[in-house]
Symmetry: C2
Subunit: 204 residues, 2 copies
């Protein structure tokens, strides 16, 4: 049973690296089993089909991403108790993290999944949906805390503002991928930060 966990996550590691680099469809099972040094039969022992692999990858990815956000904003909170400054510091840390990744960010599986929809079953799509709704809830909560302290200068839809965090990151990653530049995502986050500063700045 040691082996089971081991091999399974080894497959996920290899698959994730390949998928983030080339896309899901362009990654063959042949290639994964070669990388993980197992037989084709071994692969299908762990995953019913490619869909099951996609599902497991998404689950793991979302978990990691959530842990990352938890950690990021916890660190931000330690540095400053004010909800607005906590948000601003958290976003700064996020931008820095994205910038530090040498090969550029691995690219977000969410967008990739969204645009290859029909390749996946309903379970995978629903997982994707729930992940984004989770982030909406997370950031909405944070923005409500901020709004309690700082009256927004313009009326905003809180759900949309929360979605903008995800949207700006996703959009930035799309640009980055397409342009072959490497800091678009972090620049976009920094601009969003500027937006928040202006939106919640005291009305003199």
């Amino acid at each position: 049973m040691e082996q089971k966990v081991d091999t399974r996550s080894r497959i996920l590691d290899i698959a994730e690296a390949a998928v983030l680099e080339k896309g899901f469809e362009a990654t063959s099972i042949e290639e994964i089993v070669a990388g993980a040094d197992i037989s084709r039969g071994g692969f299908f022992y762990h995953f019913k089909d490619k869909n099951a692999l996609a599902r497991a990858m998404l689950e793991r990815y979302i978990e990691v991403e959530n842990a990352l956000y938890d950690d990021l904003f916890a660190r931000a909170r330690e540095l400053n108790d004010d909800p607005l400054h906590c948000m601003l510091i958290g976003l700064k840390l996020l931008a820095e993290m994205l910038e530090e990744m040498p090969t550029g960010h691995p690219g977000c599986v969410i967008a990739s999944t969204a645009y290859q929809d029909r390749l996946f079953d309903e379970g995978v799509r629903e997982l994707n949906r729930q992940a984004i709704l989770g982030w909406r809830k997370r950031f909405r909560g944070m923005f409500e805390e901020i709004a309690k302290v700082y009256e927004p200068r313009e009326p905003v839809n809180m759900d949309a503002l929360a979605d903008m965090v995800s949207g700006v990151v996703e959009g930035g990653l799309v640009l980055q991928r397409a342009l072959r530049e490497h800091n678009n995502a972090s620049e976009q986050i920094m601009l969003f930060r500027t937006f928040l500063k202006l939106l919640f700045s005291p009305t003199t």
Copy 2:
């Protein structure tokens, strides 16, 4: 020769609809030729392979999108000569247009292409890149006009601000696709508009 143009664009129509709905890889040539009522041989007569099809689709799509932006901001200019207000009106029109699309927006081929990278050759990727750089140039020009009249309240990187238009649209479309909601993209654009209003509002 009438036929040639006719059949070719009929293939592109069918393919575009299918690809926007299901993604490129999930769309088979079989299905395209059935829809266009031609033989497999006929398809390969017009397009060397799926890559050539992708390239032609992208070219057409980018042209349409550029014409759309031209038209949108020309209409906005007619309504108001001030560069900031022209931008704000143009974005409003864009948001409304996205909202009016009954099935939600067809989804942006750019993002889809970016995330399926290795499926395509260098030509397709470069086309994609140039399209985004074109939008950067377009919006950067507009923002520079605005900045001549209105001093930005916070320092911003003009290229990044220009990219934010594309990024917010792309990001919004990703959310929309993944969430199965229908107005995320337009909401994101409206939020970006709020950002611009705050950024370029007269410093009291």
